[in-house]
């Protein structure tokens, strides 16, 4: 079943975005389905937002470092606007935030959090540790949730605490639910990669093995996901700081 937010009005027979006769079978109505058009429509439609997004954010935490990978396509309806997009923002020397969600909300929210974290550093002379920064972010998101201006953003925040040298990775969704995780992947891409990580992940991998794990995830997305996400940007966060790694290009044939 295609997921849709309950308050969105689903037109029964006439799709307003692609202007063709199509109907969905969803939880609200039970009219028959024209699979291909309705799937394409829901995936590309800007008239309603599904909880799943076409963008993919992957974060994996290991003993000594955190690896974050984001796809590099910026999509608008059926068009790829930009294929070198950077969906990660460095909040401080040891903390990276990967954002996905509503266009505009993502940049606005991410920059607001980043500048507030810098302000904390200026005021107090030291940087907020990752867990504290995550709590601040969650609090901001939760405050806006029940206001006139909620932010529709899904985040992964990964970093290394400079005092304890422990790695941290946090999942945060648009409802301001935040939990520490060992690894997570947002978006439809996540549905394919979480099982790969379930099988292959161990916390004591070194950088090379971790990069191979990410390559396997991207290969799975290339194989099974209908939307083409050809390149992934990879960053590694260790106690030395944030470093770029070579882009991962999905290999292999689509299934």
């Amino acid at each position: 079943m295609l997921q849709c937010l309950p308050q969105v009005q689903v037109t029964d027979y006439y799709c307003c975005c692609c202007l063709i006769y199509c109907c969905f079978c969803c939880s609200c109505c039970s009219t028959p389905v024209l699979p291909l058009t309705s799937i394409l429509c829901s995936l590309t439609s800007t008239h309603y937002t599904s909880i799943m997004s076409l963008e993919c954010l992957i974060g994996v935490k290991f003993n000594n470092f955190v690896l974050m990978a984001t796809d590099m396509s910026h999509l608008q309806s059926i068009m790829v606007q930009k294929s070198d997009d950077d969906k990660m923002l460095a909040l401080s020397k040891n903390l990276v935030m990967a954002v996905s969600g509503e266009a505009g909300d993502t940049t606005q929210f991410a920059e607001y959090i980043a500048k507030n974290i810098q302000l904390y550093k200026m005021r107090n002379g030291y940087e907020l540790p990752p867990a504290a920064a995550v709590h601040f972010t969650r609090h901001t998101l939760a405050t806006h949730l029940r206001s006139r201006e909620p932010y529709f953003v899904n985040l992964l925040m990964g970093g290394v605490d400079p005092d304890t040298n422990k790695t941290e990775l946090f999942y945060m969704d648009y409802l301001a639910a935040s939990i520490p995780v060992k690894y997570y992947a947002f978006g439809y891409g996540g549905m394919f990669t979480l099982s790969v990580m379930d099988k292959e992940y161990t916390p004591d991998m070194n950088e090379k093995e971790a990069y191979e794990l990410l390559k396997k995830c991207v290969a799975e997305i290339k194989r099974r996901f209908i939307i083409n996400l050809p390149k992934f940007r990879v960053r590694i966060i260790s106690k030395e700081g944030i470093k770029d790694m070579p882009h991962i290009v999905g290999e292999g044939e689509a299934a």
Partner: protein, 254 residues
């Protein structure tokens, strides 16, 4: 019956001018600045140096809780003379403004912008009811994005001016005269030259000794550096030697 107005009745409310055009509260605030410990600033070719007099702290006090040189942003440094509490408020507001500017415009503040912001804030407090002016004079130094160094001075009235070298606080006049005599572009073209000039200027009015001064240096695209006590002692020793040599030369001429 004519009411006899004494001069001091015009300092009751800040918004009232005196008959000869003075705002006494602002002038009294400037007096408060003159009571504060001295701060000196020098703009070199590719370095800015701020130096403050370190007041001796009581035996039981933690020395590091007295911070007279503050970082407003990665590229802006501020030292002040006068009421420390007032300065703290200004520094807080300036820090928020620096980040806010970066958020909306995506560029770091220029020195002139942040000085204008602080000066405007100070002026607002000279023109509203029930509030007193800030009793601080701020020396704001740093580098703009294009690498040019700047040094600004603000005073309680809300005016700001740009300087190549200046001092504020106690005995500022003596220090400024020394700087006027000895500031040359050549003298400040190197980092050591600029630091020596600043420390020498401050030592004119402060008891000689590395533990009585605090020096902060900023270079373009580099974080602020506070000189540690070891380097300071070396510089003070060099200055003492130079002073002796000059005194010797004068004696010989006689």
């Amino acid at each position: 019956m004519p009411v006899i107005m004494s001069g001091t009745s015009y300092d009751r409310a800040i918004t009232v001018f005196s008959p000869d055009g003075h705002l006494f509260q602002v002038e009294y605030a400037q007096e408060a600045v003159k009571k504060g410990s001295t701060a000196v600033g020098v703009k070199g070719k590719d370095v800015v140096v701020l130096c403050v007099e370190k007041k001796s702290v009581p035996k039981l006090q933690e020395e590091r809780t007295v911070r007279k040189i503050c970082l407003l942003d990665d590229h802006v440094l501020m030292a002040f003379a006068g009421l420390t509490a007032d300065a703290r408020i200004l520094v807080n507001r300036a820090r928020v403004e620096c980040q806010s500017h970066k958020l909306t415009v995506e560029d770091p503040v220029t020195l002139e912008y942040i000085t204008r912001f602080i000066a405007t804030l100070k002026q607002r407090y000279t023109q509203s009811n029930g509030r007193r002016p800030f009793g601080t004079s701020c020396l704001i130094a740093g580098f703009d994005m294009d690498g040019t160094p700047h040094l600004y001075l603000t005073d309680p009235s809300g005016t700001y001016t740009e300087w190549m070298a200046n001092a504020t606080g106690r005995s500022a006049k003596t220090v400024r005269e020394f700087l006027e005599k000895h500031y040359t572009d050549e003298a400040v073209s190197t980092e050591e030259g600029a630091i020596k000039l600043v420390v020498r200027a401050l030592l004119e009015v402060v008891q000689s000794g590395a533990k009585n001064v605090e020096v902060a240096i900023m270079k373009p695209n580099e974080p602020m550096k506070m000189l540690d006590i070891g380097s300071l002692e070396k510089i003070v020793a060099e200055i003492e030697k130079e002073k002796e040599e000059e005194a010797e030369k004068k004696k010989q001429k006689k």
